[in-house]
Symmetry: C2
Subunit: 148 residues, 2 copies
């Protein structure tokens, strides 16, 4: 078992707690467990989080969250966004955020393997950096966390 | 007028000649004029040609011609090829060259702007390198040749 896997297992057994308000400063509420894909404590409906180690090409950045694309979706007008970002945007809008062409989520589709491969190759750091200093391709993070 | 533009104009006024056979060694036939997009002497139904100055990411390479993608087309099975390469391949085949999924040209479509932008950014050398030592993004080559 790798150091990271041991750390990951230890982290995942605990629940992260945050203080809700100053008046309840001695009360802690459970909020988020750690994501088994990215190792961060985001909500299910939020994007995975990564610590990028190199500069990422501008064209691989989502124009909604301004982060490297996660689970990208192509629009018919040719733009590409994170699925979560675009889904949330289209809850209250009906146009492309960049060119304002009328847009429905159902008309969007996954980009080709080429785009997924470029994103999977982005170099990220293991989030358990107190125990693991490894950097690796983003697409290998889930397996790294699982300790395969 | 740039040096390159002058050179380009001079080159384009002439027609390239080749010897057709040893028996007709003193007879020359016109074959190819120079392409106004890439500056090379390829046939209309062939891909543009470029002199790449940096290593190109493997994922931007066409699996048919093994060169950086030109006018890319995505297949429904997720692969991407040059339009010319795929069109020629499908004249005699009816499957994807990589995964062999049944394939028709009509079911393919252009990738998103993201892919076109990545390809347009590839650094290439001016083909008129006897007169012009410039390197530039591939997407600017046509304007460079026109001397805009």
């Amino acid at each position: 078992m790798s150091d990271c896997h041991a750390a990951s297992q230890a982290e995942r057994k605990s629940v992260i707690y945050v203080t809700i308000s100053p008046t309840d400063s001695d009360v802690f509420y459970p909020t988020l467990d750690l994501c088994t894909s990215c190792g961060h404590g985001h909500k299910l409906e939020e994007n995975h989080e990564y610590i990028y180690k190199d500069e990422v090409d501008d064209d691989l950045i989502c124009h909604i969250c301004l982060q490297p694309l996660i689970r990208p979706l192509d629009t018919p007008c040719g733009h590409t966004y994170c699925q979560e970002c675009l889904t949330n945007f289209l809850l209250e809008s009906d146009f492309c955020p960049v060119c304002r062409t009328p847009l429905m989520l159902q008309s969007c589709r996954k980009p080709s393997l080429l785009v997924h491969k470029l994103l999977d190759k982005l170099t990220v750091a293991c989030p358990f950096n107190e125990f693991c200093m490894e950097t690796l391709p983003r697409g290998e993070m889930e397996d790294h966390i699982k300790g395969r």
